[in-house]
Structures are given as structure tokens and as C-alpha cells.
Symmetry: C2
Subunit: 146 residues, 2 copies
Amino acid sequence: MLSIDVRPEGVGVYPARMSEQSAKPYLVRAICEWCADNGFTPYLAVKVSPQTRVPPSFVKNGEIVLNISPSATRKLTIDNEWIQFSARFNGVSQEVSVPMNAVSGIFAKETGYGFAFAIATDPVTSLAAATASTWRSRHTRPRGRW
Amino acid sequence: MLSIDVRPEGVGVYPARMSEQSAKPYLVRAICEWCADNGFTPYLAVKVSPQTRVPPSFVKNGEIVLNISPSATRKLTIDNEWIQFSARFNGVSQEVSVPMNAVSGIFAKETGYGFAFAIATDPVTSLAAATASTWRSRHTRPRGRW
């Protein structure tokens, strides 16, 4: 225990076992509370999947970044499985719901401080994404990383 | 924002600016809540300093690891500046208080999951340590890294 990694700069993170309940929702709530207490804007990064309910026109490269500050949302709830709220997008109120396993990051807009999370890969989604990518790369763009 | 660091494994951490209120107390509370909900034992690692009030006989290499689970403590409070509680050490109840800036880690005993934090160096302590190190290196050991 005394060999705990104390770095001169930054924060170290210990790995989690896969069998335990993820600490992710606890960290998302922690960063949201820290943002609220410091006047920062919490931004939630989400990897879009069939389980996410988000405004499609704001999705870029399969990801969406959502402002989940109290002033931008109504009825925000962050439990261990879901983040849910309603918000206005282009003036229209929409319901948003995101499963915790689709959350790829939480950070303060103003400072960038926060967390990036690993996203478990869904084989079906991956296959669809790979197919789409191949189709687009064949028909609209040169091959390569894009 | 879409360049957020999503790693295939583990959790990424963004750096904090020095001017902002540390997110450390929020993360300590988050890990404690996660431990409580999952039946884990939260261990708090502390770098002992003149500001820490801890049982000296349990200090090793200037650090102490404290069990801060509800079953091991009474009147536990974790605010943004201090962690305080009373606990029994060798059967004797003692008051413990630790400034947040002395907390070097919080993790689950059972899994090791948690955080290690950077500890700001106290100039006076550093000077004393440097002096002691120089004295010892001159009188008791060959020069070098030790």
C-alpha cells in the first residue's frame, strides 16, 4: 500500500477489475459537482449507438458533446446506468438519454479538466461502422485515415 | 472537443490548471461512495506533515494508509479542505484530521482501484529533507541515488 504511485505532476489512476460496478458514474457526478461549485460548464462526450437518444444533427464522427450544465438542461439525472435530461437544440426542446457505457468523457469546457473513458466495443456496431467506413472510403474519399 | 482522448483501455485524465479549485475532494468522495455501494473498503493514503493529525506509530516512510470505511470510522466528514473522523487504533479511539492537500491516494482495498494524487512540496520540509539527505550521504553512504 505504501508503494502507491505519487507522481510529481498530475493524477494517477489505478485499473479496475472488469467484474466490479464501474466507478464511471461516480466520477461523472464528481466532475459535474466540481464544475457547478467552480462555475465551469460540464461537457459530456458520448459515443453514439442505437441505445443513445441524442439530436442526430449534432453528431460528428459517431460522437456528440453535450453541455450538461444546470443552465443548459432541465430534469438532469445521472444514475449509475443512465444520464437523462431535456435541452434545447436549435430552439427545440428534446429529450436526451445516454447509457453510462456510451459516455466517453466528462470535462470542464473552460479548462479541459476531466476524464476520458474507455468504451467497450459492441461487435454489431463495430461491424456496421466498419462497413460504412469501407463504403464511404470506396466511394467518396481516398483511402487512409480520416 | 471531439478530439477527446478515448483510450482502448483504462481511463484518461486531463490536466488541471493550478488556479482552479482542486477536483481532488470530489474524486475522494466519489471513490468513497463507489466503495460504499460495492462493499469495498476505502483506503486513504496520506503524506504525513505538521498539518496532519494521525497516529504516529502507523506512519511508514512519511506516509500512512487509513481505512475510512463507515465501519472503521465515526463522524467521518470529507469537505473540500479536510478529512476528519475518529477511529480506534490498537483499541484506543483517536481523532484524525488530514488536510486535503496531504492526501496522496484513495483506493479500494479489495481491488486497488482508485487515484493517486500529486502532493505539493512544502519548501521547509524539502529543505529539511535535502539537508538530512546531504548529511547522510556524506557520513553514512556512498554518493548516488538512494
